[in-house]
Symmetry: C2
Subunit: 329 residues, 2 copies
């Protein structure tokens, strides 16, 4: 007797949900254990970020937003490094293989992969008795030696951030009944903040402009204050930041009198770009960013020194931040 051809449930899951996403020739239609990332002498930028149910997203978050968040937190890293997306691999740790969750998850992931020109190259699907987890490793390309690092900030450089800061942390508050939940009652404002928490808006449109002008850059994931401190430490410099210049959305502006500035700048999950630009290049940077449709704001200046960045208010008084960022431990 010939053994009956068998397709494991894992293989069917991959074929059903993820094979349609694997449009890149290097993905080998997901029939192999490995994928091929072709290169022609440029640098491949590699970044990896995982999202865990109950930690980075809520068990009640819709599966389509979970998919977008999982990919976009990685796209955001590529943008801040000045890299063009080249593809990603996905590890999915699942409790079950329910179509009601996987179908919208895979569809949204496929849409984002197309929108950001970052195709699925491969992955691994495993079962877990615990919380679901999505780990993505994403690849980008930059001309050799041109990745924007963290170590190049120099005294006199201007400190820029994209978009608005703090929305995602406030959105999480709204979802979980934190302080911002009581402060922001307007449904449209609440909806805006929740959406910012669930679906990051990575600034990939700015990648090549960051690469052309920034001396250092990173994305804001753990909190602006803490991430800036890391960038300064890596560059061996300090900074003076005008707290009142940190861009806030109208919805966040409603919350600030109640929750305080610290919530915005230490909450994390912003996925905006923080970068330093030499003063002589700042006008070109701002102009090109505007042409690319990305709002950027100057929030301060890099200074020499080893101390942590100083935050000052509109009256020139120092602002004390007790918490700089989110930490997992």
């Amino acid at each position: 007797m010939t053994n009956a051809p068998e397709t494991s449930a894992e293989d069917s899951l991959i074929a059903r949900y993820f094979k349609p996403l694997a449009t890149d020739p290097g993905a080998l239609a997901l029939v192999d254990d490995a994928a091929i990332l072709s290169s022609s002498g440029e640098d491949i930028v590699v970044t990896t970020d995982a999202v865990v149910e109950g930690v980075h997203y809520l068990a009640t978050d819709p599966p389509d937003t979970v998919a977008r968040k999982a990919l976009r937190v990685n796209l955001s890293d590529l943008a801040a490094k000045g890299a063009s997306p080249a593809g990603f691999v996905l590890t999915l740790a699942l409790r079950s293989k329910e179509d009601a969750w996987l179908r919208p998850f895979a569809d949204a992931l496929g849409e984002d992969a197309k929108t950001f020109a970052c195709p699925l190259l491969g992955g691994d699907t495993v079962s877990t008795p615990g919380p679901q987890m999505i780990s993505i490793t994403a690849f980008g390309r930059v001309p050799k030696g041109r990745m924007v690092g963290r170590t190049g900030a120099r005294p006199g450089d201007l400190v820029f951030v994209t978009g608005t800061i703090g929305d995602a942390a406030l959105g999480l508050d709204v979802l979980t009944g934190g302080a911002a939940a009581a402060a922001v009652t307007d449904p449209a404002a609440r909806g805006y903040l929740i959406d910012r928490y669930r679906v990051p808006r990575p600034r990939n449109a700015l990648a090549s402009i960051v690469r052309d002008h920034a001396s250092a850059g990173m994305d804001v994931s753990d909190g602006l204050a803490g991430d800036l401190a890391k960038l300064c430490a890596a560059s061996g410099v300090s900074a003076v930041i005008n707290a009142h210049h940190v861009p806030a959305s109208p919805a966040a502006a409603i919350a600030v009198p109640v929750v305080g500035l610290e919530k915005l700048v230490s909450g994390g999950d912003d996925y905006e770009i923080l970068c330093t630009v030499p003063e002589g290049r700042s006008a070109a940077f701002s102009r090109q960013a505007a042409l690319a449709g990305v709002e950027v704001a100057v929030i301060g200046t890099i200074i020499s020194g080893q101390g942590a960045p100083q935050w000052i208010d509109a009256q020139g008084r120092e602002v004390t931040l007790w918490r700089l960022s989110y930490s997992h431990f």
Copy 2:
């Protein structure tokens, strides 16, 4: 007042345990969110495999073996694809940051990274309330267009496997009180099987030889029978396998009369290479493998057809396998 410099517990964890492993210049000493994989026109082979506590390893497995397994299951993929290791990124989902677990984990990971010339390039450390999980994406290099795929097996090719098959599945049985636990009583044999379950022996020494001679290849991770069926399906061929030619270790040979052949060929976790070699190249393949110190065995022949591979015993009778491989769902 200047804000006190703050290092998050996550950053200290990375600096303490993993920075010493990040010796490659592309790792940027782990001070960046991203790493650089330089290229010079070759193909980058990408593979990703996760191990989950309670699924791929036992909660009681020593942390050093967990580290080695997490990396080696990926190294095994690179070997089967004919690729030289280039580096890896690590996502670590941890419940706690106990030194008693992390210290031996990181030390063993560093040793293996050095042994296999596969440096740590970056990673992400997240907290989870659930089982620990280690997801690794590993990179290899092959000359352009030379990755060994799954689709090139042709009728007449010989089917080779490296090492011995089934040891890991039996080792898991010994650890968990399965059928093999009663069958294998000799402490040395039990220890051997347990070690094969906990610490795969990826065949990276064979990578370039596989690349030079194999028409198709993959590593045996889910079970030899199922993995062979996948390779045949991808190549549009079938195979005849001599079950009695499947190489078994002395310890496994003790267990076979009790647990049956199916346990060996469907249990998985072998991390041996399964490959097909045109007959005219098989002598050179065997000779070069011997020089590289890797035992290889011919277990059958590729035939034309769409059916699942046929397994036959020493008397030429067909062997029915009810289960071909491990599936997560």
